[in-house]
Each structure stands twice: as C-alpha cells, then as structure tokens.
Amino acid sequence: MAYPFRDERETRILSAHFGDPQARTLDGWQKRGGYGALRKALEMGPARVVDEVKNSSLRGRGGAGFPTGLKWTFMPKDDSRQPHYLLINADESEPGAFKDRELCRWTPHQLIEGALIGALAIRAQHVYIYVRGEFFEPAQIIGKAIEEAYAAGIAGPDVMGSGIGIDVTLHLGAGAYICGEETALMNSLEGRRGQPRIKPPFPAAVGAFGQPTTINNVETLCAVPHIIERGADWYRSMGTEKSAGTKLFNMSGHLIRRGNYEFPLGFNLKELIYDVCGGIRDGRRLKAVIPGGSSVPILSAGEIDIALDYESVARAGSMLGTASVIVMDDATSMVKQVRRIVEFYAHESCGQCTPCREGTTWMAKILRRIEAGDGRPEDLETLVDLSRNMTGTTICVLSDSAAAPVLSSLRKFRGEYEALLQRDEPVLATA
C-alpha cells in the first residue's frame, strides 16, 4: 500500500508496509521477512553482493540515476585504506520530493538492512545516516530502530555473529538544501559549511574525513535487500531495460489523490495523473507538470503522454530526477511559481560560485518585478542570458537547477511573461 492512498495497479515492494505501524519494530520487521537479506549477504561476501547489485541495474534514486553497483566498485577492494564510510543521504529537500521521509518513518529497518548490506559491500566500518534537521519524527524513528538493531546484535561490533563490525550513526543536518549534494553532505558531516567540493577527487578516493566514502540515497538502499533476497534477474524483470525496478512516484500539486505510489519504471505519466491520482481537482484542467522535482524542466499539458523512466523523460526534454511529480492546473500563474522556485535556489545557494550566488539572486529580483507588473522589455532576454551563464559554470548543479525551470517556462509559457510585461501599470524607474 502506498500512502496515504493506494492503488491496486501498484507494484509495492519498498512501500509494501507503509501505513503499518507494526512494521516499524524490529520484531515486526523480522516477522515480515526482514534481515533475511542481510544474513544472505553475509554468506555471499562483498564481491558477490556488489555483482548482484550491479547485475540488477539498480540506479541511484536521489536524482542522478547513477548505477549503484558501479558506484560501489569504485571503492578500494581491500582494507589498505580503512576506515571506509557509507553515507546515507536522507537530506530530502528537493521541492516536490517526499519519498525518503515516508521510507524513513514507516520502514526504518528496511533502510538499516540496506545500509548494512551496502556497508558490507564496500567494506565500510561506519554508516552515517544524514537526515535533514527538519525531520524530527523520521529521525526519532530511525534512532529507535538503530537502538534495536544494536541490542539484537544486528548492528555493532559483530554483525549477526559474522565477526564484521559496522557502526551506524544518525546525524542531523540543520537546514540547508545544498547538503543533499553529496560532497556538501560530506562537508556538513565533518562539521563544516555545506559547500560542495570540486571533483576529482571523487568520494571513493577522498571522501568523508579524508577516507574512501560512498554516498547513497535512502530509496536506493531500501531496494538493496529485495535485490539480494530475490535476485538481480527478478529486479531486472521490472521496469525497462535501462531503468530497472520500481520507483516511488511522489505526486503533489493540484491532484485529487496526492501521495506516494510505487510502480515499475516506465509507467505512463498521463495514466498516473489521471487514473491513479484521480486527475485535477476542482474540475480544472491540466496546465503543466514538473516530472522530477523543482530542478528539472517543466512539461506542458500536451507533453505528458510519456513513460516515466530515465531515458523517456530525457527524450521529452526533462529529467526523471527524484520522480517528484508536481502538477499544476490551468489557474496557476507560471511566472509566480517559477519565481518561487528561483527564490528557493537563491536562498539555498551556498555562495561559493559567482554565477550561482549572483545569478539566482538576480533572476529572483527580475521575476519579482515582472510578476508585480514592473517588468522591463529587456527582462526576458536578460533571464535567458543569466540562465545560460549559470549552466555548467559552477562546482555543483544547483545553479543549473535554478536555470532549468526559467528556460523551460520561457520557452513554453512565454505568453504569460509577455502579458505581464505589457500590463499597463506604473513602471518603477529603479527596481
């Protein structure tokens, strides 16, 4: 069952126990088959676990879609550079995304089991679960589950009697979207400002505390126990050839039934919006969809008959990202929503790179004056120019993310901007 609604067409694997408070406890989780995969992984050993995940074609669910098994192979294969660290990215703060919060608060042991298998695979001694500071309840629930796992000998110096020691620590952020970027997350864990690092060196070479490190998203690791238990072939049998397995789709905005739904990748976006989520509320019509969280290009209503997998969404000119689908009805002011998204990036820019620090602030300022009816004729070209200068010019992609909705909305909804520019209202001499 997804949460808070369910649909019989779903393939519920990660979300099978959403809405079931009993599944939170260690006892309840084990009764539902939990920690069987960890036992199996301990018997398989690191190399075979990595192979299995590699063969499953699992791709990172944090937005970039990088193959998980391949990422794990970048880690040193021996213990010459111990300690290794596994960091779990639960800094979910992409506008539109609310899947990791549900995974953390309904199935904390699914996450811990995946984390321990991941740590085993990359020979990590210590797992840090980086939860965003606002997530008090999910953090408390994970904390309790860690406590239970230690008490039962599942985490700690002797994982299930194997002689392998893996510590698990919960670490809270303190309110910074940028810490979801993997190198910023490492800096934040180390007690620094959450500013992204230049790559290379990559985390597998020089990561947290200078040691080999892998960073995985919550949803990615939650899929791992299922892959180990039921095999790579089973996992690959779901989804498409290049986008295997299931994905949580986070549906928000002007929908009748908002919520998380789990489907194999490749599910049709139009069907998801109209059939599963009941369509647009208040009898209105669809205007636009952001398919992968606020950082990706906007799709217009005519562009939604597409399969939701990494390749198909890219072909449609956007990105699957975190599969956070934000749906807007025909009463939505596109300029207002784009302005709000850009203000978000202006607020969250870490300030390291000039194109991002200045660009996001200027774009927000220009969009505010267009929205207020004080726009200048050259503003739209200035926005395009700023966006181009903000793409591919910075350490991380926050800057590109701010430019994407501006460029796509200017292309697809230019009329709205022009209507505001032509509005017959007093224009301020200086903005």
Partner: protein, 228 residues
Amino acid sequence: MADERTPLGANPGHAGETGEFAHLSEADVRGSAYVGRRPLEGGDHGGVCSYPYQLPNRQPDAPLFEGPYAKRLERIRSRYPDRRGPLLPVLNLAQEVRGQLTPDALTRVAEVLDLAPAVVRGVASFYTMYNTRPVGRFLIQVCTNVSCNLCGGDEVAAAFLGHTDTEPGEISADGLFTVIEAECLGACGFPVAVQINDRYFENVTPADVPGILERLSAEARATGGDTG
C-alpha cells in the same frame, strides 16, 4: 523537558487522515508510540544524536554541557573520528537547551570542541535552523515552496502572520510566536505543511490557523516556564 515531546492532539490533518488510513491514530502515523521518551543524556547508539529544536521550556541562561548534557556530549563525540565532526550535533544540543545560539553559547561550543570561535560562528550562520537571533517560544515555519504554494501556502503564511500580529521573523507581543516562511519541508503530498518547533502540521488551511494558535497558547499556559 526533552522527553515531553508528545504530538499535539487534533492536528488539522496529519497525513493519516488524508486518505485510506483513517484508522491510524496520529501516534501511529508519527511513530511516537513506538519511539517513546528520550532520556536527556541521550541513548547509546541511535538515541545519541541531538535535534536543533528548543525544549518546550527553554532556559536562556542554563549552563551548557553540564549534568546529563555532559554525558550526551561525550556520547556524541564517541561517534566521530575527529574533533570537528561533532560540531553540528553539539550546536544542536546548545540550541535545544537555550532556544537560540547566542555569541557566548557559540564561544562555549568552540571551547568544548577546541575549535576557533570564528569557525563555529561561520558554521552556525550557514544553516537556517540555527537561531542566531531570539525567536518566540513557538517557531512557526510555513512552507511556501512550490507544491505547498500551489495549494495555498502564501495564504496560510499570511493567516499566521495576521493572527499573531507580526511581521516575518518578529516575536509576537506575548512572546509566544515567531512566524517565518520555510523552504520545502519534504511533506509535499500533504500541503500546506507547517513546522512548529519539532512538530509537523499537515494539510493546514487558513481556517485552521486560529485553532492551532489557541492550542499552542493553551499548551504554553499549561507548561509554564519562560516565554522569551
């Protein structure tokens, strides 16, 4: 005290009431029945972390890192390989006790971790959850980012500001409330999401606002203590 963080009853619409899980209580959905009370000195493993929220009864002049907090500090330190790693959890701990991070609290954190005060201030000023200025007893953060915005985030924020008679970031005359707009709280499926200290309120509409404020005021009267 730290262990009295029970959910406020009658949340205007916690996620469980939204859909097909109406049989679940708020404690079921929030997991509060499962988690139970947290000791001040922290747990041994999972419970070792600290949270960047103030206690219901914050003590602006309380000594930092003494008594049970000294124990918690040591537990936090034991989880990190160097002396800087624990900085965020230790800042959280200071804010939990005092409600805000004053310059002397930051200096004390620097002393305890043997870091330069400038380093500590630089980090504290980077993260939005660290209150380097005083806030009301209840810090009300209304999500106005895109998914909540589409469903009335601006209106809910305006209602909180109007009913508390404040501008964003100000403390209300009774010392109880500070209202700010927040960036995405990660509860986009349950708009409008509002975070009040450590609690999430979901599916909030402007009509819910007076009731929420009344209940918070009643809670403050019942627990007494400093109202800042």
